[in-house]
Subunit: 399 residues, 2 copies
Amino acid sequence: MKYNYASRMANLNGTATREIFKLLGNPEIISFAGGNPAIECLPTERVKEITADITSSPDFARVLQYGLTAGFPELRALLADYVRTAGIEGAAVDNILVISGGQQGIDLVLKTFINPGDVILVENPTYLAFLQIANSYEAVCKGVDSGEEGLDLADLEAKIKKYRPKVLYCVPTFSNPTGRTYTAENRKAIAELTAKYGVVVIEDDPYSKLRFKGEYVPSMKSMDRAGNVIFVSSFSKIISPGNRTGVACAEPELIRKMEICKQGTDLHTPNLSQMITYEYLRRGYLEPDLKRAVEIYGRKKACMSDAIARYMPEEFECTDPDGGLFIWGRLPKGIDVLKIFPEAIERKVAYIQGSVFFAEPEGTENYIRLNYSYANDEQIDEGIKRLSGLFKEKIAALK
Amino acid sequence: MKYNYASRMANLNGTATREIFKLLGNPEIISFAGGNPAIECLPTERVKEITADITSSPDFARVLQYGLTAGFPELRALLADYVRTAGIEGAAVDNILVISGGQQGIDLVLKTFINPGDVILVENPTYLAFLQIANSYEAVCKGVDSGEEGLDLADLEAKIKKYRPKVLYCVPTFSNPTGRTYTAENRKAIAELTAKYGVVVIEDDPYSKLRFKGEYVPSMKSMDRAGNVIFVSSFSKIISPGNRTGVACAEPELIRKMEICKQGTDLHTPNLSQMITYEYLRRGYLEPDLKRAVEIYGRKKACMSDAIARYMPEEFECTDPDGGLFIWGRLPKGIDVLKIFPEAIERKVAYIQGSVFFAEPEGTENYIRLNYSYANDEQIDEGIKRLSGLFKEKIAALK
């Protein structure tokens, strides 16, 4: 039978990272492609202890039974407290929705707001999976320029006036893919500007706890006076990606809408996943584990920066993040990193082409995202060496 | 700020069961409203044993790390085998998608196929959460008449010709809400008719393993020659609802589309949930546990049927299912079960009004769904007695 798909399917293909993820069964390939936490940062012993306690509890049957869509009340209460670590004061239980990973939070916001054809503003470049989710709602994404301080405010206001967007999506701290962080002033200005024009902001914050250098910057949500910012965070990078838990924090009216949308997608986040996150936070494991993780990521990032300085051709430019998981690089115009990807795989090293992070990808074929959290120090050094060899050849061929 | 929601939100309210679920914190209320498995059927000791083994395994870190969107390969392989129990022979791994509960399977099919305004045919009456999910895609649902044998084939063909639907949704075994089962002949005829007209069928099968009487009937998917039937099943009623796992089985092309849709909604089903289901099935726990569960549900159903015979007014008519979790009842015209629901709650007994199960609910205010799986025998007897008292008063007042 020939199937008659929905129109949204025309623009939906597997995201580049997910597809590359499938190819990486080969352990010989050094991967800078994904966004996986370091294996040594995954709290295997803690989760073992926690699950043993949960399954031994006299009311464990409650965990196996249906739960509420918005999440366990005790987890929501704890998360209302937890968002203070992002500067959000006074959150109550009805400001909080438990989500099945940050990805679901984004999906639920778009489900709540987006009709086909609606415009969404995103940073140039932005998280590739966001563009995929936006495609699934047949939204039109338009890029806003950005720099070291954050979004270009003049460009933001101009694009708001021009496109009348419903939503602005951004990752203000350790952006994926650039690793850059918006200043506090930039955040405040964005919150005010979007409030003025009635634009809802998704503040996606999976990485802010992974800071190995520089000063904490409060979340944009903490500067939200109009109720237009929806804060979405994830425990994937700081507890476990496989556990699929996260938190959304917003006005109760919005949380209620997102809850209704969640009913139809997965009814509720699995209870054991919720309880693992609850107990992990309640027992105070996050702080010491983060301390260790941040040391590890800081070391890995330094290792990659050092290898880049040592091996990469001088034409290669890149960011120097204070946290998060990614370095963003640029090669000279004329080098198409997607085209030469098979040659990288031959040399047993993988990355993600930067073009997939742009709402309007024309002319961005020379950008590249490098992840430093997953590979070990030796692999990072060796992988960058291999890549450098390839890039040098390609640059030489340009001349 | 006044929010400008997507048009889909206009018809989305919390589903009746989810809302009542919230009210049932009061343990004095005997609830026939939900669809929860019996607490005594939840395999607390098995899951305790399984999670201890999983968390002790040397490659437990794999469970905490990101997983593939389609699910753990070993679980998919096992599920390809598992669907044989529904008569589906020869399924391979690429026919299988691991889903976060049956609800997600339905959602992913609609995401794959439905544009706003597309018509979906459903049984009269049908699963209320399906109507909710269909609303979220702005589909138009039209009801097909049904009876003891299954769908009315003449009405089905007439509605297909009239509405040119993209999808038919049905629960052929122990339907929610009626508890009725389509005959094998009826299934075969539906599979052929829908194939002829290019209609995709969602065969939702959460209950078929809960048979306490009568003969096994193979799934409609097992009779599918054209590749138009998508089989969706859930482990919620037979392992644990809180674990949120299920399986979809369809043509590889469709599984791939659903996988791409799943990337954007939750990336993947939590790994621990997947591994619990995998180990539970692999260790052969399902068969003995089902044997026990089916005895319990058979007893509870008999208990409810007996109480209905003993207490209910003769004007009350109801189904007599061979399995599943629900009895479907009808009161005389003129009794609006939603209107008198507050009086039922005063008498400390809850049910679901039948009207929410109809695509076109006009004139269905006298139907009622009663769940017998959750309450214990005494509560069932007492609850039906309380309801009968209320109904008798209302019927007397009609005269």
